[in-house]
Structures are given as structure tokens and as C-alpha cells.
Amino acid sequence: MTKKFESTDNYIATEDLALAVNAAITLGRPLLIKGEPGTGKTQLAEEVARSLAAPLYRWHIKSTTKAQQGLYEYDAVSRLRDSQLGDEKVHDIANYIIKGKLWEAFEEEQLSVLLIDEIDKADIEFPNDLLLEIDKMEFHVYETRETVVAKHRPLVIITSNNEKELPDAFLRRCFFHYIKFPDAETMEKIVEVHFPSIKKDLLAAALNAFFAIREVQGIKKKPSTSELLDWLKLLLADEIPADALHADESGSIIPKLHGALLKNEQDVHLFERLVFLNKRKQ
């Protein structure tokens, strides 16, 4: 094995995540990634592709996506039209086979990265329809009677938000990694990577405020890493001094520009109420 994945200059991968990716490359198995929204599941594939200098194929799944679309589609309607017009193309069915993302990735001579994003959005049967393709990295094209085999097993990264249970048979063929929410130390590294010029004290104050918000009981949607980064961007743009973020003794201050962190009306209300209660106590 020549290439190894590790943290890049704009993505911090924890040790266990790097291990997971490297193991998946070595053994040629798909890697299933779960985790809270906003912890960089989708970004992982992009960063892996970039750090390994491998081409990336993105397959974003919607509720209407069928497994077949990832392999190929037979454009029967064009063929019908062509037959009416007497086009010569119509005699070769291969002209109407449209390659899917999986096929494209299979044709790559070198290591490529195939991202199957948000697999849980699809129909329940979707993962089952991909079992053989993912396992053997080959599939059969019924119309042209050819078998497509991967020239180089791509690294398949699958992300899921847990909206549906994935079938056991599918899980058994994957490696699984759960990206847990970064601790304060990792978070500091992540922020540094994104905003290298951020002032130390502003960063410390912002992180404190951020983790405090995450710990408030009853918040519906906890702010995630990507929201923190957005918030910092705003703070930097507005040149807000660090002491504006420091909570006073009771911790009762609504952070500036909190709209970037709290995305839910109820959460903002809850937060304001807590602050109000705190103030009254004094």
C-alpha cells in the first residue's frame, strides 16, 4: 500500500477515522459513515479523494433513486423516437445504455473514490439491490449481455443519517465508522484549519459559548461543527471582540449572532427564557 489517508490542511481526521479509511482502502471494502449532521460525513469523501489524488464520483441519493440508476439506465424512450425517425443508431442497443456512477467508477484504472451520499434517503430495498455490486464490484448489463468488472476496486464511502434501518446483509459487507462529535481539543484544531488567523482569545470564548449551548437541556437541534464554522465566519466578519462573548458569572448572555447556531425558533425562545431566568436570579 502506497498512499495513506490522514488529516489534510483543511480537514481534521481523528486517528480512528484515518484508520477506518485506510483499512477500507487496503481491504477494498465499502465504508459506511454515520454521525450527527454537520460532522463532515460528506466532506470526508472529498478530502480522501483529494489527499489520495483520486477521482471522486458523487452519487447523491434521493427518495426516488433506484439502485439501477447507479449502474446504468436503458433510455428506451430515445430509442423509440429514433426508431420512428429511422435513425441508424437504433440497431445497436448499446447506444441507449447510459452509464451510472458505479459504472464510471468501475472503469477507472487507478484508485477512485465513490461517494454514495445519504443512502438512508432511498427506498428500503435500495441497499439490498446493491449487495452483489458492492461485494464483488461487478454487475451484469442485461441489454447488451456484458459484465462490467471494476478495473481497480474503488473506495466506496457511504453516508447515512439514520433515517432508515439498513439491512443486515448490507451492513455485513461494509466497515462501519461513527463520527462522534469532536471534543474541545479536536474542535480547536478544526477551527484553526478553517480560520488560521483567528485570535486565540476569541476562539476560546467562542468555543466556550458553543459547548455551553450544546449542553443546554432540551434544545431540539444542537449546533454542529459546520454551524460553529459559519458562526465564526460571521464573528470574524463583524470583528466582534472576544470579551463580547464572555459570559458573566451566571453565564447569562445570549451570544452575538446566535442565529447561526440556533436554527430553531423554539430553541431561540428556550434560550432567551433561560437567560431571562438567570438574570432574575441575580
Binding site: 484508520l19 485506510n22 487496503t26 481491504l27 434501518e165 459487507r173
Partner: protein
């Protein structure tokens, strides 16, 4: 040797298959994670565990397994003669370290203390507590007790961190057996969706027809498809107040999540049992109410009525006029529920209390009979059965 780990995991009801086990061995063969126990922990977890809900159980089993290995190690090391250790130490220790040893009272003293500590360690272990977690803090922790690690008297532990990853049990909250979490919720939702998607009529399938015709080289091939959205209309009646609040919140969310699948979905609330009034907003229950008569008049008979409540109360609250705890009701609750059932033949009662208790509570028994045996548990299974019952033509 790793087979033991596999069986330990299976005993802990973690679904680990042979394929996954072999994949792990394959990885170890390739040298993916051979050099540190932390790497091995992460690697084995990613191979064997496919669900973050099992992480906590895996951590426990893994800790146990590693402890087992450590115990084995201790048994062996207990027999190593002292001279051997002393020689080894003298070979390994630098001059400075030797001086430090002297400062601590000499080698013999240290060995004595060490033995004492070992005894202590054994006692503690027999007492059943875990000691691997504290291994880093004691200078004589089991981790420090090997030739490379005889740095006796050093302040910090050999490993630098006292608690192992798997001892932190970070994934405790994700375990499915701990509490009624999102898992049940999702399963139930799936059952509800099935309910909404079935019982459909056939309709002309435009895309399918074009597709089939094209494949057929232009010969018309008509396709019919089942209608996706059907006309299921649901009325939900919730018992609110007291112990029911949590269950109401869960079931409200459940049905809202499935809302797009229904043609109509309406909520109403009641307290303990259905009487002459229902209300839509629990905060304004005393002002804005809807009389049950009007409720029955408003909705057509093809609505499905689902009542969620624990039906636990005094039997008089159901059978006797004036039995309600909150107000004077002219007619008994039983009369009202019968009126509702007369109008809406498709009805079900979901009860969050475990079915085993039902027969012991008279009011639940009465309600069950009033509902013509259509009371189901508020569980995935119960919802499935209730849906089956609601689908049946009456």
C-alpha cells in the same frame, strides 16, 4: 484466540457474523492494526459492529476481554523469580534511575512494596472491581510491571492516560435496550407508512406504459399501477395529563412524521376518558372545546379513529354518570365511546402500559371490552396489529 472475543460479543446479543469476523482477520493479516491495542480496538469495532447503538455493549465486552488477557499475564508473571527481575532491572536502568531507586529506600524495599501492592491488587480484583482503568495512576500498576516498564517511582503512569477508550463508555446513550429511543419510533413509522400505502386502486401508469411500449418496439403495452397515496383519514384522540404526557409526545411526533401519508389527520385531546367534550389545544382546554356530538357529526364514517391512552382509572369514571374526576358528566364515558364506535367502525385503542398488566386493572378490562377487543400496546408490534385491524373491512 480472537474467537473468544467473537463469542463474547454474540453472548452480549451483538449480531456479529462470520463474514465480519473473517474480514477482521483479513485486515489483521494485512497489518492494518497490529501494533497498538487502541488501533486494534478501533479496527475490530469497525469490522464487527455496524450500529452505534451497539458501541456501548462492545466497549464493555472488549474491556472484559482485554482484562481477561491481562489476568492471564499476571498469573504467568507471578512466577517469575525476583533475581530475574533484579538483573533485568539493573541491565535496563540508567545510572540516574538507579540513584532514584536508592533514594526510595533501595531495591529490596521497592520489591517489597511492589509485592504488597500486588497482593492488594489481587484482593481488589477478587473483589470484582475493574482495575485496568486505574492502571495508569499507580506506579506499580499491572501495566508498569514488565521489563520495559519497570520505571518504578516515576510519577505518571506508563501509558500517559489512565482510562482506556473503551472504559469511557461514550456511546452509552446510543444503546437501544436502554430506553425507548428513535429505533422503535422508526420501526413504528414504517408500519404506519405501510398502512397508508396499501388498499390502493389501480390507475393508468403513463410512464410505465411509455417505457413498456418503447421496449416493445412501439407496440402499445398498457401498464397499470397502484395508486401511491390513498385516502386514509385518521382521527387521533389523546389522553393527556399526568403519566400519559411522555407517551402523548412520542405518539404525536410519530403521527406527525407519518402525516404526509394520510389524506387527513386530526388530533383531539381528552382527559382519562372520552366524555361530552374534546379539545384541540391542551393549553386552552377549558375555553375552546368541541362537543363530542359535533365531533361525531363533523367527520365522515370512513375516518379511522385511534385512541391513545393508558385507560387506567377508577371503573366508575367509565361506567357511571358523574364519574369523571374533573367535572360532572351527565352521561357515562361508556355511552360516549359507544357513540363514537357506532359512527366510526374502524377504531383502535393504543395503550402504552405493557399488555401483561391489562387484565389486572379493571378499567383497562372494561375499555378493552368496550373497544370490542381492539386494544393494542403502544409498541412496534402493537401498532402493526392495530393497523392490520384498521385495514380490515367492517
Amino acid at each position: 484466540m480472537l474467537i473468544e472475543l467473537l463469542f463474547k460479543l454474540r453472548n452480549a446479543r451483538i449480531p456479529v457474523s462470520i463474514t465480519e469476523y473473517l474480514a477482521m482477520l483479513d485486515g489483521l493479516n494485512h497489518g492494518v492494526a497490529n501494533y497498538s491495542i487502541d488501533d486494534f480496538y478501533h479496527f475490530s469495532r469497525m469490522c464487527l459492529i455496524k450500529d452505534e447503538r451497539h458501541f456501548d455493549r462492545f466497549d464493555k465486552v472488549f474491556g472484559d476481554y482485554v482484562n481477561g488477557l491481562q489476568n492471564l499475564f499476571d498469573e504467568v508473571i507471578g512466577d517469575i523469580p525476583e533475581e530475574w527481575l533484579r538483573l533485568e532491572a539493573e541491565r535496563l536502568f540508567s545510572e540516574e534511575e538507579k540513584k532514584e531507586v536508592e533514594a526510595l529506600g533501595g531495591w529490596d524495599k521497592i520489591m517489597e512494596t511492589l509485592r504488597e501492592r500486588m497482593e492488594e491488587q489481587k484482593d481488589r480484583h477478587q473483589g470484582g472491581s475493574k482495575w485496568i482503568g486505574t492502571g495508569g495512576t499507580s506506579p506499580f500498576g499491572a501495566n508498569g510491571y514488565n521489563p520495559a516498564g519497570v520505571r518504578i517511582g516515576q510519577k505518571s503512569g506508563r501509558h500517559g492516560r489512565a482510562i482506556k477508550v473503551w472504559d469511557k463508555r461514550e456511546y452509552k446513550n446510543l444503546d437501544s435496550e436502554r430506553e425507548l429511543g428513535t429505533r422503535n419510533f422508526k420501526m413504528a413509522l414504517r408500519k404506519l407508512r405501510r398502512f397508508a400505502r396499501e388498499g390502493a386502486q389501480d390507475q393508468f401508469d403513463m410512464n410505465g406504459t411509455i417505457d413498456a411500449t418503447a421496449r416493445n418496439a412501439g407496440l402499445l403495452d398498457i401498464k397499470m399501477a397502484a395508486e401511491r397515496r390513498n385516502a386514509i383519514k385518521v382521527l387521533l384522540l389523546f389522553d393527556v395529563g399526568g403519566s400519559m404526557d411522555y407517551h402523548v409526545a412520542v405518539s404525536e411526533e410519530l403521527f406527525s412524521a407519518a402525516r404526509s401519508e394520510f389524506k387527513h389527520l386530526e388530533y383531539y385531546y381528552f382527559h382519562n376518558f372520552v366524555y361530552e367534550k374534546l379539545w384541540k389545544d391542551n393549553r386552552r382546554r377549558h375555553n375552546e372545546t368541541l362537543s363530542t356530538e359535533e365531533f361525531i357529526r363533523t367527520y365522515a364514517a370512513d375516518y379511522r379513529v385511534i385512541i391513545v391512552g393508558d385507560a387506567t382509572m377508577s371503573p366508575y369514571e367509565i361506567t357511571a354518570p358523574g364519574g369523571s374526576v374533573e367535572h360532572w358528566n351527565e352521561e357515562a364515558g361508556a355511552v360516549w365511546i359507544n357513540r363514537i364506535l357506532e359512527k366510526f367502525p374502524h377504531a383502535a385503542w393504543l395503550n402504552p402500559e405493557p399488555a401483561a398488566y391489562w387484565s389486572r386493572v379493571p378499567s383497562v378490562k372494561i375499555t378493552h371490552e368496550l373497544m370490542q377487543e381492539r386494544m393494542y400496546g403502544l409498541t412496534v408490534d402493537g401498532i402493526g396489529k392495530a393497523i392490520d385491524g384498521l385495514k380490515r373491512k367492517r
